[in-house]
C-alpha cells in the first residue's frame, strides 16, 4: 500500500467527522430499506472499485472489540480480501480478524454471502460497484431518482420480459434486481441469485456501500427481499447438477445444496467446489473430528 501510516493516524483511518457522516447515512439507509442514501465518499488509499464504499462502512463502525471477516469471491485468502484485512488491522489497532463467519461481528464481502447461517447482531457489508438497479434502463441519474421515488420499475420489468422473449427465461445471474420491503428495487451487488434469495427475512443487517457512486443502502434484519419475477416465470436460484443429473456435491468436502465454483478436470469433466472456502474447510475439519 502506497500510504505509509504514522502515529498521528486516526483509529479507523477516516476522521470522526467523516465516520459520523457515514453512520448517519447508514442509519437513514436502515430506516428506509433499499433507499440509496448519498454521502460524501472519502479518498481511500486504494483505488475506487476496490471496495472503498464497503471499507468506509466498515471503518465507520468498527471498534477495538469487533471481529472482522473479509471475503472476496467467497475466499478469505484472495489478494483483495487480504489487502483489506491488512489495512483494517493497521489502522484499527486491537481489531480481531477471523475466517469464521459465525465469529465475526462484521463481514465485509464481495460476490458472496457466507454459507454458514449468520445471526442477529451480525453485520454484512457489501462492496458495491453499481448501486442503482435502474442504471441498465436509464442513463440519467436525476431521472432514476424520480423513478425510484415513484416506484416506477416498468422499464426494468420490460428487460425481464425481453429476457424471456429471447432466452425463454430470465438470464440475469448476478446483481439481480430485488424489491425491498415492497418498495425500492435494489441492485444487491454482484452476488449470485443463490445469495440474493438469502437476503429475504435474514436476521443480519445488510449494508451496501458504493464508494465511486457515493451511495449507501441497506436491507435491515427480517425484511422482505423479493427478486423481481413473473407469476408464471418464478425466480430460480442456480442449481448444480453432476453428469447424472443429480444434485452435485463438493469435490472437497462433499457438501450439497450450497453455491459452487466450477472446475474442469484435464479430461473435461466438471467438478464442483464450495465457493465459500471457509465453509468448505470447516466442513472438512468437522468430518475429520468425527462430527
Amino acid at each position: 500500500m502506497r500510504h505509509s501510516l504514522t502515529q498521528q493516524d486516526h483509529f479507523g483511518f477516516i476522521d470522526e467527522y467523516a465516520k459520523r457522516e457515514v453512520r448517519r447515512a447508514t442509519l437513514k439507509a436502515i430506516c428506509i430499506p433499499g433507499y440509496q442514501v448519498p454521502y460524501s465518499s472519502r479518498e481511500m488509499p486504494m483505488g475506487r472499485g476496490f471496495g472503498t464504499g464497503g471499507l468506509q462502512l466498515t471503518l465507520s463502525m468498527i471498534g477495538p472489540t469487533d471481529t472482522l471477516k473479509v471475503i472476496d469471491q467467497g475466499s478469505d485468502e484472495s489478494v483483495n480480501a487480504e489487502n483489506i484485512k491488512g489495512f483494517v488491522q493497521q489502522v484499527c489497532s486491537g481489531v480481531h480478524v477471523t475466517n469464521k463467519a459465525t465469529e465475526a461481528s462484521i463481514v465485509q464481502t464481495r460476490h458472496r454471502i457466507p454459507e454458514a447461517p449468520m445471526s442477529e447482531g451480525q453485520i454484512l457489508v457489501f462492496q458495491v460497484p453499481y448501486p442503482d438497479s435502474l442504471v441498465v434502463v436509464e442513463a440519467s441519474e436525476s431521472k432514476r431518482r424520480v423513478m425510484h421515488s415513484e416506484a416506477d420499475y416498468a422499464k426494468l420489468w420490460v428487460k425481464l420480459y425481453e429476457d424471456i422473449v429471447r432466452y425463454g427465461e430470465i438470464t440475469i445471474s448476478h446483481r439481480y434486481p430485488t424489491e425491498i420491503h415492497g418498495g425500492y428495487v435494489i441492485d444487491p451487488s454482484p452476488i449470485p441469485r443463490y445469495d440474493t434469495a438469502r437476503l429475504h427475512q435474514s436476521p443480519v443487517i445488510h449494508l451496501f456501500g458504493a464508494g465511486r457512486e457515493k451511495k449507501i443502502y441497506a436491507v435491515p434484519p427480517y425484511t422482505d427481499a423479493k427478486p423481481l419475477a413473473f407469476e408464471d416465470h418464478a425466480f430460480r436460484v442456480e442449481s448444480f447438477l453432476d453428469q447424472d443429473g443429480e444434485q452435485a456435491s463438493c469435490s472437497v468436502c462433499g457438501a450439497k445444496g450450497v453455491y459452487f465454483d466450477e472446475h474442469y478436470t484435464d479430461d473435461g469433466v466438471v467438478q464442483y467446489k464450495c465457493s465459500d472456502t471457509d465453509f468448505c474447510l470447516q466442513n472438512l475439519t468437522n468430518q475429520k473430528n468425527g462430527q
Binding site: V137, E150, W157, V158, Y161, E162, V165, R166, F230, D232
Partner: protein, 278 residues
C-alpha cells in the same frame, strides 16, 4: 346527452415571466402569442371545451397555435399555468387532473389515458422491442403474468394490423407508418377511456396516412374510447372528428360539429384555413 369525459376550463400556459399584460395583449385579434410587454409566449390563453364519452374531438389550427401544448398538458407531459380540467373515468369518478400529485398523474397516464405522438421516438422506446414497448404499459399497471402480457400484446398488434411475427423486432426496423401503429397499440393496450392523437399521420406518405386514418376510424367504432385528434390537416378532422374546435394564437376561435365548422365557418381565420386547403 352522453356523459362528459373531459371538461377543460380556461386553461392557460405561459412560457416566460408572465406579466399583467400577457393575456390581453396576445391572441387571435393581436395575431400573436408573444406578449409585447414582457416577451413571454402565451401558448394557451384560456382554452375551454368539453368532450363526451365515445366522442372524437378534432383540434385544428396552424403550427404554433397551441394544439400540442394543450394535449401534452392534459397527458401530464407538461404543466399548465392555470385553469382546470375535469376528467370523469369509467367508474364515474370526477378527477381534477391538474390537482393530482405525481404518482396519481402517473397512474392516470398508465390506466386511463393514452397518447400517440407525431414523433415515434417520443412515444416509443427504441431500446425495447415492439412487444416490449406495448408490454411496458401493462407492466406499469402492475401486470406480472408473462403469458397474459404476451397475449394482450398480441391481440393489440392484431387490432393495429401488425403481423405477429414482427412482435419481437425493434421499432427501428419498422417503417414510419408501422411505428405509428405500434404507438397506437401501446396507447390502447391498457384500455384507456381517453386517447390523444397529436399529428399522428403528419409526414407520412399519403397512402400510408389514409390507411392509418382508416384504422383509427375502425378502432373508434370497436373500442370504448373518447379521442382528441390534433392536426393541422382539415382532411383528418373531416374523416375522424364529430366535433372540431379551431385554435389560433393560443385561443379557440370557433367550434362546433365538424361538418358545420367545415361547411359554414363563422370565423375569418377558419374561412381562410378552409379556402387555403381547397
Amino acid at each position: 346527452m352522453a356523459n362528459k369525459v373531459l371538461e377543460v376550463n380556461n386553461v392557460k400556459k405561459v412560457y416566460g415571466s408572465e406579466c399583467p399584460d400577457c393575456l390581453q395583449s396576445t391572441g387571435p385579434e393581436h395575431a400573436s402569442n408573444i406578449c409585447p410587454s414582457c416577451g413571454s409566449i402565451v401558448a394557451l390563453g384560456g382554452v375551454s371545451f368539453d368532450l363526451h364519452a365515445n366522442e372524437c374531438l378534432g383540434i385544428v389550427g396552424e403550427s404554433g397555435s397551441g394544439k400540442s401544448t394543450l394535449v401534452k398538458s392534459l397527458y401530464f407531459d407538461q404543466s399548465v399555468t392555470s385553469g382546470k380540467a375535469w376528467f370523469t373515468d369509467q367508474q364515474g369518478e370526477r378527477i381534477d387532473l391538474f390537482a393530482q400529485h405525481a404518482a396519481q398523474q402517473r397512474w392516470l397516464r398508465n390506466n386511463r389515458l393514452g397518447m400517440v405522438y407525431q414523433n415515434p421516438h417520443i412515444g416509443l422506446n427504441f431500446d425495447f422491442t415492439v412487444g416490449g414497448n406495448i408490454a411496458e404499459r401493462l407492466l406499469m399497471g402492475g401486470s406480472r403474468n408473462y403469458a397474459k402480457i404476451r397475449s394482450s400484446v398480441q391481440s393489440y398488434l392484431e387490432k393495429v394490423e401488425i403481423p405477429l411475427a414482427r412482435m419481437d423486432d425493434m421499432p427501428a426496423d419498422f417503417s414510419g407508418g408501422m411505428q405509428q401503429r405500434v404507438q397506437i397499440a401501446k396507447a390502447l393496450v391498457t384500455k384507456p377511456s381517453l386517447l390523444f392523437l397529436d399529428e399522428v399521420t403528419t409526414g407520412l406518405d399519403l397512402s400510408v396516412q389514409a390507411r392509418i386514418l382508416d384504422l383509427i376510424l375502425q378502432l373508434r367504432y370497436d373500442l370504448d374510447v373518447a379521442m382528441i385528434v390534433v392536426t393541422h390537416d382539415l382532411g383528418v378532422v373531416r374523416l375522424l372528428a364529430d366535433r372540431t374546435i379551431v385554435m389560433k394564437n393560443g385561443q379557440v376561435v370557433e367550434g362546433g360539429l365538424t361538418d358545420q365548422v367545415l361547411h359554414d365557418p363563422q370565423h375569418k381565420y377558419t374561412q381562410r384555413l378552409i379556402s387555403s386547403e381547397l
